[in-house]
């Protein structure tokens, strides 16, 4: 509020009278404006001792009521508001007049005025249940959950009987009282359409995806015409990896209107991709492009399929479409927002230059970054220039003024007793990298770091998405675990420059950085250690914002693009900007990965140091007894059933071992994935009827102990945990020489493993395995186990970590 103004303005007192009478409409609007500015307005309550010029109302409530109705019927809801205030009929004594006006304001879509009227009623403690519900909904929609909760509990008690109140209270409680919220939201099953939608969204927001799905299924049955439930069910099913249901829902929407059909096709493309069925993805893509859909859906498709050329082609045509009337301004604005969220800043600037509408706040943001007609960076005049302007690349260096500060390379203060360590990863799903993240926490605690000094932050640990596989184990270490998806990002109170910088990041990076920044600002750790690309980039950027003394970025086994994942948002320039800071160290878990990242990021050789994986020796214990000679060889494969693991090569090699080399085997694969059907069919063709194809298990150690050898035929690998774990259990391993396999395999010595060529044929692989296997499986396990204990122990990991964190030796 302005400091030099009174905090209370009486619109009827002489100060106001001096500047003339306000028209009722103007007065009403002025009142609303003043209240938004934080003034308390006193209008029309009649003459008082403080303001004797005031006129007391001389008409009855019935007359006012008629006047209000008449004014509202003319669309003059603000004039009605002014009339009501002028009348002196306060909310405390005449709530029905205020409720009447609130209803009319709602009907006319004037949410701010309705909100104002409800606040008067609530302040006077005369609000009816409808008013409370409306206001609670309004507050929840605006992120003010605690206010909503206060209203609801005050009016309905802690366990409302009214279903809508229960749902809203459940939604308001979601972040703070999870169990109570779930209980309350359960009432939605018998609620209205709106209740069910509210409850589904609240459950979805809480990560209770399966509960939300169950409710969605019920809602679809009760309200089959409401497409919102199908949309949500499809999204939820995909989130919990129930791809069958998600696909079925999407297909059911193909008969909808043009936009629904396009959305459904895009979802089918994405689902097909996620399930590894590229042919189907391309077929659905063709259907979508054949369909006369708008540019936004085409851009989404191009994004899903990672076709930047198509993004450019679609965007380049937008100016003509807009100026010829084929593209309406609202859609054009949505496209600009979408492109900004995707980091395609140059394309947005190109559209701006071509005269397409851009949302004002986005224009201002870009202007503050120097773009625009008046800005020093101007606007690109052609597509070639536009496509080269991308976020986050254009944001770096984040703090150019810090450049050139005389800090010796590699300098950072030593870790002190009491300093906090923040380790960050994306999720805790059942994967090798996530297992290693757990091992980091264990290694730190085993090395004597107090658990309460170690904090682990995850972007999601939603159980229904499978993001919590290692949550229990991680918490069992005693460290603090933070689910960043639960953080309140509404207001971090950032300085404008940082806020603008984050606002201009691609949406995914933006939400990661915001979430992590909130936590890191509270914790002020001495070390932030980002694990895998997503968390590493967010950690590096947050470290720059907070000037964290030490930052460690632990890479995966190869650059994002090589992994073939949807990882094009991971920016090389971001890495390079982060690594330009002397306090940042970068690691990989094998030489192969380190060299690959050095090449990608144009770093000096050996700038990426090695932080080797650790095997949990309490879990992966040696086999108790050696195998009996003469028995069939129990060959184990532990991998996901996807192309790059080459499961068909694995099967064919086993079949050739049996057919061509007379080696009896008991083949077993632990894994699941999109190629499962093909594998079963091929196994039948090869006569491998005795193949056991089992789903993956949380702890495969028993499977290792009950096998004679591990066979891995992947075409792409980093440092495969399965090789380390199998050897820790004493198993000999044969694997193709890819990624960090050679480094992880014990080869030189008795019972050493077998390295096959990366591009081996079935016959060659079978011949080499046949020559190697009989001798190896009967050799004692000791050398293999010792190899793992020396190189891949928790103690070795802890030693490396403490070195990186600057702990005194």
């Amino acid at each position: 509020m302005p400091e030099n103004l009174p905090h209370q303005i009486d619109l009827n007192c002489p100060i106001a009278a001096d500047v003339g009478h306000f028209s009722p409409n103007l007065e009403g609007q002025l009142s609303v404006v003043l209240r938004h500015l934080g003034f308390h307005t006193v209008v029309g309550a009649g003459p008082t001792e403080e303001c004797p010029n005031k006129m007391r109302s001389t008409v009855g409530a019935g007359v006012i009521r008629r006047e209000l109705i008449e004014l509202c019927s003319e669309g003059r809801v603000h004039a009605a508001y002014a009339r009501l205030m002028e009348s002196g009929f306060e909310a405390a004594h005449h709530p029905s007049l205020w409720e009447l006006l609130e209803r009319r304001a709602m009907e006319m879509g004037d949410a701010p005025l309705a909100h104002e009227l409800r606040r008067e009623l609530l302040a006077a403690d005369v609000a009816g249940t409808e008013i409370v519900l409306h206001e609670a909904r309004h507050e929840i929609e605006h992120g003010r959950l605690r206010t909503a909760r206060t209203y609801l509990e005050h009016a309905f008690g802690p366990l409302p009987k009214v279903t809508e109140a229960r749902i809203l209270l459940g939604a308001a409680l979601a972040p703070d009282e999870r169990d109570r919220a779930i209980e309350l939201l359960g009432a939605a099953e018998n609620g209205s359409e709106a209740d069910m939608l509210w409850a589904i969204d609240a459950l979805r927001g809480m990560g209770e995806l399966r509960r939300a799905m169950t409710l969605c299924v019920a809602a679809r049955k009760r309200y089959p015409q409401n497409g919102s439930f199908s949309n949500r069910l499809g999204w939820l099913a995909e989130s919990v990896r129930d791809f069958g249901t998600a696909r079925e829902i999407a297909k059911s929407q193909l008969g909808g209107d043009s936009d629904t059909k396009a959305q459904a096709l895009n979802r089918l493309v994405r689902l097909s991709q996620r399930t590894g069925d590229n042919d189907a993805a391309l077929a659905f893509a063709a259907d979508l492009l054949r369909h006369d859909t708008g540019p936004l859906q085409k851009l989404r498709l191009a994004r899903i399929l990672r076709l930047p050329g198509l993004i450019e082609a679609v965007t380049a045509a937008l100016p003509e479409q807009f100026w010829s009337g084929q593209l309406d301004p609202v859609e054009a604005e949505k496209i600009a927002t979408y492109l900004l969220d995707e980091g395609q800043v140059g394309l947005v600037l190109f559209l701006w230059q071509a005269g397409l509408p851009i949302a004002l706040h986005e224009k201002r943001l870009l202007e503050r970054h120097g773009f625009g007609r008046e800005g020093d960076k101007g606007l690109p005049t052609n597509m070639a220039e536009a496509i080269s302007i991308k976020s986050p690349d254009l944001l770096f260096p984040l703090f150019p003024e810090r450049r050139g500060t005389a800090v010796p390379a590699g300098w950072a203060p030593a870790l002190r007793l009491g300093d906090r360590i923040l380790i960050v990863n994306s999720v805790l799903a059942a994967g090798g990298a996530e297992r290693q993240f757990l091992m980091v926490a264990r290694a730190l605690v085993e090395a004597g770091i107090q658990p309460d000094r170690v904090h682990a932050a995850l972007f999601s640990i939603e159980g229904d998405r499978g993001h919590d596989h290692f949550e229990g184990a991680l918490r069992a270490t005693g460290i603090q675990v933070h689910d960043l998806s639960r953080g309140n990002l509404a207001d971090l109170g950032l300085p404008e420059r940082e806020r603008d910088c984050i606002a201009l990041m691609p949406a995914r990076l933006r939400s990661d950085v915001l979430a992590l920044l909130g936590l890191a600002r509270d914790l002020r750790p001495a070390v932030i250690h980002g694990w895998q690309d997503r968390a590493a980039i967010a950690s590096g950027l947050v470290s720059q914002f907070l000037q964290t003394p030490r930052t460690v970025l632990s890479m995966r086994n190869m650059r994002p693009k090589k992994r073939g994942e949807n990882a094009d948002w991971i920016s090389r320039s971001a890495y390079q900007a982060i690594l330009a800071e002397p306090s940042v160290r970068i690691t990989a878990n094998a030489q192969e990965g380190a060299r690959d990242y050095e090449d990608w990021l144009q770093l000096d050789v050996a700038e990426v140091s090695i932080l080797a994986n650790a095997v949990d020796q309490t879990v992966f214990r040696p086999r108790p007894t050696p195998r009996q000679q003469g028995e069939a060889v129990r060959l184990l494969g532990v991998f996901r059933l996807t192309e790059n693991k080459r499961p068909l090569l694995w099967l064919e090699t086993v079949a050739a071992l049996e057919a061509n080399h007379g080696i009896k085997t008991v083949p077993q694969i632990l894994g699941t994935g999109p190629l499962e059907g093909q594998i079963r069919a091929r196994a039948a063709e090869l006569g491998l009827d005795h193949l056991r194809l089992d789903p993956p298990v949380n702890d495969p150690s028993e499977a290792y102990r009950q096998s004679d050898a591990l066979l891995l035929m992947s075409s792409v690998e980093g440092t495969p945990n399965v090789i380390l774990e199998a050897q820790a259990c004493g198993l000999p391993v044969a694997a193709c020489r890819v990624g960090g396999v050679a480094e992880a395999l014990y080869v030189n010595g008795p019972g050493g493993g077998l390295l096959l060529d990366a591009e081996t044929s079935v016959q060659e692989a079978a011949a080499r395995i046949a020559a190697w296997l009989p001798g190896t499986i009967n050799t004692p396990d000791d050398a293999r186990i010792d190899f793992i204990h020396r190189r891949y122990s928790t103690r070795a990991l802890a030693r490396s970590l403490l070195g990186l964190y600057g702990a005194p030796t």
């Binding site: 391309l282 492009l289 054949r290 050329g309 450019e312 045509a317 071509a354 220039e385």
Partner: protein, 555 residues
């Protein structure tokens, strides 16, 4: 066929520039789509198009293999399930074979372009391995290729491409064309668009009228002036087609908005006129010319910049000099005072490290020596009586207050009984006084040079045209009155140089003028003749010939 222009207008793909240059694609009513990606982006329009459709399929360029294959796979589905006939083309035979194998569909090579460049030595290399398309000319570059049009480049040089970029190699092969290919029907009359800015005075217009006359005369060219100068009427009266344009300043418009508008208008004019050559006489090439010429179907025209020297020494025009990298030819109209040139353009015509060919011509005058009238005839034509007459020609009125000098001139002339004849610039909006004289020569006497023999002396500003007309076409006393303004050339240096050569006297800056003017008037009274001035040379013809050679270097 014709490419769907709106699709490719803003594309960073260079191929549409070439397709627009293709005889088979130059008509109307049919549709050629420049790539499979464009086809994906606009499939419903392709399906709904009434007329023949051809799609040019492309080999892999800088995109990932995965992206290229996925696009082709989607495209194959679209084509296979379409009922409309579609011709699938590729840029070369090798590309056609490769794409046909990839798609299992029939793909034929597009008819080749006729050869564009007639020489054998000039080479331009294209690459996009480091991002947006770049070009190199021998050791020069890289230059951002988006500012050039391949249809223009292919007439200037043999195009080479990064061998690791199959698509770009195909484009280069296609751009170079084949000797045996049917040449496009060529207009025997070359079309030349001359852009003249709204400069101070008539320098640009006068110079370009001289050159335009030569182009029309010796190259049978159709010359169209795109004029921001208010002297457009003069151009029109000289018999040239003239498009009068307004600058942002004239219109009071935002510069960026104006630039967009002017680009559209110029692009539209290019589409309509389809010029072989665009020439601008200016210190720098304007953005709208570059942007319009880079568009598909707009840019086969070569681009030349006529840039005079003698920039003032404090004008550090490095940005303006960058235009050299955008033009095919930069010609400096020669200046007799070149040895005194202290500006940044000094000696640039000798440089060989520019994208453009650099040249210098003899000084350009609109009036040729054979157009000069004998003294008697000239006096009669101007209605001058007996006695001595001095022409006073001080140029436009917007930059200088001449009144102190005028007073001295009038007093000195009266003393020597010399009649003053005042030349008013055709651009002059007001009468600067003329000291009560009734002898004023206005626009109807433009150009005034043929009548110079009518005068016994001339007092003149030292702009390019006046200076060279007086120094080459006149043999009586000349008093040079330099004007120093940042927008003008270095008139002081020119005047000092001429004085040092004994060609003229001049009013030194900041010194009393009275004595010099009196002495000058005395020379007139004595009927003095100056015989040391240089002989006239036809710079306009030299520039026209240089432009002609540029046109002839490519088809």
């Amino acid at each position: 066929m014709t490419a769907l222009q709106p699709w490719s207008r803003h594309s960073s793909d260079p191929l549409p520039q070439l397709l627009a240059d293709h005889g088979s694609f130059g008509g109307s009513g049919n549709l050629v789509v420049p790539s499979q990606v464009e086809a994906l982006a606009h499939w419903p329009e392709i399906e709904g198009f009434q007329g023949e459709v051809a799609i040019v399929l492309r080999r892999q360029g800088q995109e990932d293999t995965g992206e290229w294959r996925d696009v082709l796979a989607i495209f194959r589905r679209l084509v296979s399930q379409s009922e409309r006939p579609i011709r699938l083309l590729a840029l070369t035979q090798a590309a056609a074979d490769s794409l046909a194998a990839e798609l299992a569909l029939s793909v034929t090579p597009a008819e080749p372009l006729p050869r564009g460049y007639r020489g054998t030595t000039a080479r331009v290399a294209l690459s996009r391995s480091n991002g947006p398309l770049q070009l190199r000319k021998g050791p020069l570059g890289p230059f951002p290729a988006r500012r050039y049009n391949l249809a223009r480049l292919r007439r200037r040089a043999i195009i080479e491409a990064d061998p690791n970029d199959a698509d770009l190699s195909d484009i280069a092969t296609f751009a170079n064309g084949e000797k045996a290919a049917q040449p496009a029907t060529q207009n025997p009359q070359p079309v030349i668009v001359i852009v003249v800015p709204n400069g101070t005075g008539l320098g640009h217009v006068t110079r370009m009228l001289a050159v335009a006359g030569k182009l029309r005369q010796s190259h049978a060219a159709r010359v169209v002036f795109w004029s921001f100068s208010h002297a457009a009427g003069i151009i029109h009266r000289a018999g040239f087609e003239t498009v009068l344009r307004q600058t942002a300043k004239h219109l009071g418009a935002d510069l960026d908005d104006w630039l967009l508008w002017e680009t559209e208008e110029f692009a539209s004019a290019l589409g309509h006129l389809r010029p072989d050559l665009v020439v601008q006489d200016a210190s720098n090439l304007q953005h709208f010319i570059i942007d319009a010429l880079a568009r598909p179907q707009r840019g086969a025209a070569r681009l030349a910049l006529i840039r005079r020297g003698m920039w003032q020494k404090h004008v550090l025009g490095t940005e303006a000099l960058a235009a050299e990298q955008l033009a095919d030819l930069v010609v400096e109209p020669g200046d007799l005072a070149a040895p005194a040139d202290r500006g940044v353009t000094r000696g640039r015509f000798e440089r060989t490290d520019s994208f453009a060919d650099m040249a210098v011509s003899a000084p350009v005058t609109l009036t040729r020596k054979d157009q000069l009238l004998p003294a008697r005839q000239a006096r009669r034509a101007l209605g001058l009586g007996w006695g001595r007459h001095c022409l006073v020609s001080l140029g436009g009125d917007e930059l200088w207050d001449w009144s102190p000098v005028l007073r001295d001139i009038v007093e000195a002339a009266q003393k020597q009984r010399i009649g003053l004849v005042w030349a008013r610039s055709p651009l002059s909006l007001r009468d600067p006084g003329f000291a009560g004289s009734r002898t004023v020569l206005g626009q109807s006497r433009y150009p005034l040079a043929p009548y110079l023999a009518a005068f016994d002396g001339v007092i003149s500003a030292v702009g390019y045209n006046s200076f060279h007309e007086l120094m080459q076409l006149y043999d009586k006393p000349v008093l040079l009155v330099p004007r120093q303004h940042s927008r003008l050339d270095d008139q002081m240096a020119r005047a000092q140089f001429a004085a040092a050569q004994g060609w003229a006297t001049h009013l030194p800056e900041g010194e009393p003028a009275q004595a010099t003017i009196s002495s000058f008037m005395a020379d007139i009274r004595q009927g003095k003749v100056i015989s040391s001035r240089p002989a006239w040379r036809d710079g306009a013809a030299e520039i026209a010939d240089a432009l002609g050679r540029l046109l002839e270097s490519g088809a």
